[in-house]
């Protein structure tokens, strides 16, 4: 697995020696664990039924839903690294709903729902994944992916606002 740098620090643009860098250094343990979880969610050693390329493409979709262009570029780079096929790369197209592929359609539908409006999710949404042939462990992997990326994007958004403080 390729080691990645601190994605949040890079995306926020935390200048070494700045006030923000000093404050973030006080929670270096959390930032390191965040990066390790990023690698575990996007590039796990045991990806199960969700390939690295599919994970990166779904994460890219989540970045777009949140209007986060820096994250979008980051996940696009991960898609390239994972050698995403055109069919897989298309998952990142926000206007693509999976077309005639029932599995892709279910994955995309669920990610869009949970990234944007988790409050609206119900038992039925898990049943729909199951009906599309997605295995129980993969349902959890998918949930962790969208949940983690939603967290990471919010940490970065908060730090970006902190950077703007006088």
């Amino acid at each position: 697995m390729a080691e990645t740098k601190d994605v949040i620090a890079e995306i926020v643009g935390i200048e070494p020696g700045s006030t923000l860098a000093q404050v973030v250094a006080g929670r270096a343990d959390i930032m390191a664990l965040t990066q390790q979880t990023h690698d575990g969610a996007l590039m796990p050693e045991t990806p199960g039924g969700l390939s690295h390329a599919e994970r990166a493409a779904l994460a890219c979709r989540i970045a777009k839903i949140n209007n986060e262009t820096a994250f979008e570029a980051h996940f696009e780079a991960l898609m390239d690294e994972a050698g995403a096929s055109d069919a897989t790369a298309r998952i990142a197209d926000i206007w693509f709903d999976g077309g005639s592929d029932a599995r892709l359609k279910a994955l995309i539908r669920h990610v869009d729902l949970v990234a944007h409006a988790p409050k609206d999710a119900t038992r039925r949404d898990i049943e729909l994944l199951r009906e599309a042939g997605i295995a129980e462990p993969d349902i959890v992997r998918l949930a962790e992916l969208v949940a983690f990326v939603s967290y990471q994007i919010r940490v970065a958004a908060g730090l970006r606002l902190m950077r703007g403080l006088a």
Binding site: T19, E68, P118, K119, F148, S150, G158, M162
Partner: protein, 191 residues
């Protein structure tokens, strides 16, 4: 007779998964390690057994969770709970809201703040510092781009130091994660 809980409460419900929890007899050594299971300790919650299906995130998530909520210094533990509650209200995670509202009440021995938040949400009449904390956590939870410079400045004006603001960002964001697991993978049940 059990029923699904739909309203915010500080009575902690049970959590019933929609997904089949990991069967410990089928767990891999890596899963057992992440679950920190020893022969004398096999009591693991259904929630953790569900998450154990994705062991590569679970093994980092547990220490991360504990760090964000309990690390020394920075924002008070009670105020971190407000970040968690703000997120849980936006995401309508009844279970997380109950646990963390309850913890706030325990830590502060004051139920009026949570009562006001559960009754009126962001319009709750609470002291300015808590109000700034709640407003920020709600905005960052809804859509990260909704939180703006004015919300950040409101935190500074309410007296939050930089390290406290960082802890608020972390606890709020953490519940953007936790709520998306708890609320989407199972339901709160009152027994």
């Amino acid at each position: 007779m059990s029923r699904i809980v739909h309203e915010f409460t500080t009575d902690i419900p049970a959590w019933k998964p929609y997904v089949k929890p990991l069967d410990l007899t089928e767990a891999s050594p890596e899963q057992l390690d992440a679950l920190k299971i020893t022969p004398s300790n096999t009591k693991v919650s259904d929630y953790v057994l569900v998450l154990a299906h994705d062991v590569e995130t679970l093994k980092h998530r547990t220490p991360l969770f504990n760090g964000v909520m309990y690390n020394k210094g920075g924002l008070s533990r009670a105020e971190r709970e407000i970040g968690a509650v703000g997120a849980s209200i936006v995401n309508r995670c009844i279970y997380c809201a109950a646990v963390h509202a309850g913890r706030y009440n325990q830590l502060t021995k004051d139920e009026t703040v949570i009562d006001a938040i559960f009754a009126d949400g962001v319009d709750a009449e609470i002291e300015p510092r808590l109000k700034a904390i709640l407003d920020f956590s709600v905005k960052l939870s809804k859509c990260p781009q909704d939180a703006n410079e004015d919300d950040m400045q409101a935190l500074v004006d309410a007296g939050l130091a930089r390290d406290e603001i960082l802890d608020l960002i972390l606890s709020t964001a953490l519940f953007g994660w936790a709520n998306r697991l708890m609320h989407t993978l199972g339901e709160p049940i009152a027994e």
